[in-house]
């Protein structure tokens, strides 16, 4: 008779890493659906590109490191990275954008640091930032929501645009945009910033067509969809409530105060919270466990820090949205935050 020798505990909760990752991906579904609804099939194509590139890059890296590639892919972390990156890309960005971003995220941000769990930065956001600073033009070329576009792109148009740069009828992306003067940027935040720099008042800006629903067409529902997915994750206890709450509350408070002080010179709190990548960032990016703070207090501080950074960069930074930069900067502070927010251990006097 032989006995299996093992270490306690012998029981185990049946929620594995792969399930956690998959749950986060599932929670993105409402957001994906709304994005497709407003921005077209391009979103899906970008997702497919980014995810397959990410998984391929991961597999190659793991093979290079002489580990079991299949086993690692099964943890679904590469899938999630690709998904999150794909969602942040402009729907009609050229195909190589998604590939470069995914490969960078997986190879240089994740695997070089030692693979899953070792990376200092959020891979998806680091990939996004690299794309943004490297290819600012492609990365900021968002077509306005479908509902405002006069020329409706077909599915073939979308594919052609992404892969060849020209639509079926031979228009380039830039040309398509020129016809739609006035709606150049994806995020209403950027429109606001541009207009404010141009000495327009906030109330004047809101009269624009993009803001006919008060928040910037399409962006309010998209944010709402991510909020729903995020709340489900919180309810499932897959992500902690602390980071999103701290982040959103801080962002809201900051923008609310400034908007009260200067109603014409700053965007409203609701716009800040329900626009851009606010909800996506709060529930899906900042809560990435690997690169976020892990202590209870630390999570609150981390959320607040990210919100402050988002607010500062949105108002005074050089790029339209700020979530990605804020996340990376906050990531850098995590070891420090964690170190100073160690909980008081049982039996030790505080302090």
């Amino acid at each position: 008779m032989s006995f299996r020798v093992a270490s306690s505990p012998h029981g185990h909760i049946q929620r594995k890493t792969s399930n956690v990752m998959l749950a986060v991906a599932l929670a993105c579904l409402p957001g994906i659906a709304t994005q497709v609804w407003y921005f077209g099939f391009g979103v899906l194509i970008q997702l497919v590109l980014a995810i397959s590139a990410a998984m391929l890059a991961e597999a190659i890296c793991i093979r290079q490191r002489e580990r079991n590639a299949l086993l690692t892919l099964k943890d679904n972390s590469a899938l999630l990275t690709g998904l999150l990156l794909g969602l942040s890309l402009p729907p009609l960005a050229p195909w190589w954008i998604a590939i470069i971003g995914s490969v960078f995220a997986i190879v240089l941000v994740k695997q070089v640091y030692g693979g899953l769990g070792q990376n200092l930065f959020n891979p998806a956001m680091a990939g996004y930032v690299v794309l943004l600073v490297s290819f600012p033009l492609s990365m900021t070329l968002w077509l306005p929501p479908l509902q405002l576009v006069e020329y409706q792109l077909t599915f073939t148009d979308t594919i052609m645009l992404i892969f060849t740069g020209y639509s079926e009828t031979g228009y380039s992306l830039a040309q398509l945009r020129v016809d739609l003067d006035g709606f150049t940027m994806a995020t209403p935040l950027d429109t606001v910033k541009t207009a404010l720099t141009n000495q327009q008042t906030y109330s004047e800006i809101l009269t624009g067509k993009v803001f006919s629903d008060g928040y910037g067409i399409a962006w309010f529902p998209v944010n709402l969809a991510y909020l729903v997915g995020g709340l489900w994750l919180v309810q499932q206890k897959i992500i902690s409530w602390r980071i999103p709450t701290a982040f959103l509350v801080t962002l809201f408070t900051l923008s609310f105060i400034t908007h009260i002080i200067s109603p014409d010179g700053s965007a409203s709190a609701m716009l800040h919270v329900f626009s851009g990548a606010s909800m996506f960032g709060a529930f899906f990016i900042l809560t990435d466990p690997v690169s976020a703070s892990t202590t209870a207090k630390g999570k609150i501080i981390f959320g607040i820090l990210a919100a402050v950074l988002v607010y500062l960069i949105r108002n005074w930074g050089g790029y339209p949205d700020a979530v990605a930069f804020a996340v990376l900067l906050a990531n850098m502070c995590v070891p420090l935050i964690d170190y100073y927010t160690k909980p008081r251990t049982y039996g030790h006097v505080s302090g």
Binding site: M1, S2, F3, R4, V5, A6, S7
Partner: protein, 188 residues
Amino acid sequence: MTILIYSLLALGIIALIFGAILGYANIKFKVESDPLVDQIDEILPQTQCGQCGYPGCKPYAEAIANGDDINKCPPGGDATIQKLADMMGVEAKPLAGTEGDDVQEPVKTVAYIREDECIGCTKCIQACPVDAIVGAAKHMHTVIEDECTGCDLCVEPCPVDCIDMLPVQPKPDTWRWQLQAIPVKQIN
């Protein structure tokens, strides 16, 4: 031109003053002993085995402080090299005389004298660096197990080869958890 001369003068005077301060400080705050040696000595396993090529751990510590390699201590094994590397700010190297990959944790051993063969020559007593062998001339000797560092310096001098280096057996008290526990054990 005058401004040049002035600046030259000014710099010269400043240098004069600082030179004097440094000279004074050098005499005043002279550090006599080298605390580094003690710190290194602290890390070494104190087996006093001489396998590093120095007569004892302290001499080797001094040698390291003077720039000798840190990878010459077989009884300390990888852990000691790692600690020395951290302390000296150099890269850890595999143990001298071994390939990079085959560094193993040294097996702790203790000397045993097969007592019916011992002729009481006291050679091992003189060889033992830590006085861990007791006995008198023409009387059988015994190793004090607790004091033995496992340096095996006593093995060679024994004319009748009656000293064995035996690995320390684990007891329930000294047993320690291993990470690579064998998952299935055969019984009976």
